[in-house]
């Protein structure tokens, strides 16, 4: 009910005040009534909710989050490698 779907704007019909958006391969129309005039442009990422565009997604912020996430995974991998090395160093069977 309150979920909303990230979509990409592919076309704008100014006269009818509707945009055509792509939601992972599905194309449909969405009302622009809740957006300021000329705020939404082709190529923008938007949130779609019951037939309306609710807002634009901040691309820079999404990219920043994804960067933080990949650094987190990298750090985790490093930590895990470190743990494996330490485990190996402390292995009681070493040298037998």
């Amino acid at each position: 009910m309150c979920l909303s779907i990230p979509s990409k704007v592919v076309k704008i019909d100014k006269e009818r005040n509707v945009a055509t958006v792509d939601t992972m391969g599905i194309t449909r129309e969405a009302g622009l009534d809740l957006m300021e005039e000329d705020d939404v442009k082709i190529g923008d990422y938007v949130l779609l909710h019951i037939g309306f565009i609710m807002n634009k997604l901040d691309e820079a912020d999404a990219l920043e989050s994804l960067k933080v996430y990949s650094e987190l995974v990298e750090k985790m991998d490093e930590q895990e490698r470190q743990n494996l090395v330490e485990e190996d160093d402390n292995c009681p069977n070493r040298g037998k």
Binding site: M1, C2, L3, S4, P6, S7, K8, D22, M24, G31, D33, L34, M35, E36, Y45, L47, H49, I50, G51, F52, M54, N55, L57, D58, E59, D61, A62, L63, S65, L66, K67, Y69, S70, L72, V73, K75, M76
Partner: protein
């Protein structure tokens, strides 16, 4: 990282490795806590994500979720559903509403039952679809039964705006829009309240901004993090809440910055204000009366208000849930679905007795679906 792709907005925020990464961060941070913390995810959308991705199982023992009342279908009291049923049964009426309302039983039955009795009930994807129905049926009264929290309110206002400006005389409205902060305040006023922090509903704040939660850290001393609906969003939000406790901070923070700012969508807010005002009372199913918890049409638009025009037909008598149902306690975060004696037996998604089993966003429905009971 290069340019953003549409699929990144899905997969990037569902990456299992990142979820695990946050689980580890939370575990480390949670070791610093002196007592356990209960985090209420207010919104049914979050409950759904938590159950679907098994996020509770990834958290340490001292971090718990309490499932909140933020599902507009679940909190709809039976007397309001009866209104929809009665209106739908009028011969010259077509009742239009969003699909979520199909199965919700009132005291007379659900809208699905009304349809089986011959009523003309239409479930639409968008409120704007009502315009086409009205055009094709000029001899009928089309009543839009409007539901939803802040996220969905401006879409009803947008329809109303078209109806008023184009002077469409055969579309009427029955307004059941409700607001989140008032429900949160009611929960905090309860002496048995166990809530330590809130995960704020993301799409409510897309419209209303994060500002609507300002008072919770300052007045109630409860941290709030407004988080997105993807599993990584939820885990990052939880890590932000736990860090606040570990560092003895109590603030309003936004995790879902890619979609939420302080002010929200001002154009949507203006539309809402043009047509709606606070209703002095709205009764939430399971929670009871919430002062200022809902909206109503402004008096100058009474000509479009089905509640006014059909006043004689619509009773105002209050109808409570079945006495075995504990949805009220579940919505307040005092109980979980498995603690209910009829959960999964007498009360199932196909035959819901209580509100939380009715909507797919309800806590009971989510437990049923993801607890391998289906």
């Amino acid at each position: 990282m290069g340019e953003l792709q549409l699929k990144d907005l899905y997969t990037g925020f569902r990456d299992p490795e990142v979820i695990q990464g946050y689980a580890k961060l939370i575990e480390e941070e949670a070791k610093k806590l002196s007592s356990p913390i209960n985090i209420m995810e207010v919104c049914g959308g979050h409950t759904h994500t938590i159950m679907k991705y098994g996020l509770q199982q990834l958290l340490p023992e001292n971090i718990n979720f309490l499932h909140g009342p933020g599902c507009p279908v679940c909190i709809m009291p039976k007397e309001r559903i009866d209104h929809a049923y009665i209106l739908a049964m009028q011969e010259d009426v077509i009742l239009v509403t969003l699909g979520d309302m199909i199965k919700v039983p009132g005291s007379k039955g659900s809208l699905q039952d009304a349809r089986a009795q011959g009523a003309d009930v239409r479930f639409v994807y968008s409120p704007l679809d009502t315009l086409k129905i009205a055009k094709e049926n000029p001899e009928k009264k089309i009543i839009f039964f409007a539901i939803g929290f802040e996220t969905t309110t401006p879409m009803s206002a947008a329809l109303l705006d078209v109806v008023v400006k184009q002077n469409i005389s055969n579309i009427l409205f029955h307004i059941n829009h409700v607001t989140v902060p008032e429900a949160m305040e009611l929960l905090l006023a309860d002496d048995e309240c166990k809530i330590d922090a809130f995960l704020g509903p993301s799409h409510v704040s897309v419209i209303s901004g994060s500002q609507i939660y300002d008072k919770f850290p300052s007045e109630y001393k409860k941290p709030v993090v407004v988080g997105g609906f993807e599993p990584v969003d939820v885990m990052e939000s939880i890590s932000m809440i736990v860090r606040q406790f570990a560092q003895k901070r109590c603030e309003l923070e936004v995790q879902y910055k890619r979609a939420v700012n302080t002010e929200g969508n001002l154009k949507a807010q203006t539309l809402n204000e043009n047509y709606f005002e606070k209703a002095p009372h709205f009764r939430f199913r399971g929670l009871g009366d919430i002062p200022n918890g809902g909206l109503k049409l402004r008096d100058e638009y009474s000509a479009y208000n089905a509640e006014v025009l059909y006043e004689e037909l619509l009773k105002s008598e209050l109808i409570d849930d079945h006495k075995l149902c504990i949805c009220g306690d579940i919505l307040k975060g005092k109980a979980t679905p498995p603690q209910c004696s009829i959960f999964g037996t007498a009360c199932k998604p196909s035959t819901p007795m209580g509100s939380c089993m009715v909507s797919s966003e309800g806590a009971c429905a989510a437990y049923y679906k993801y607890g391998n009971l289906l």
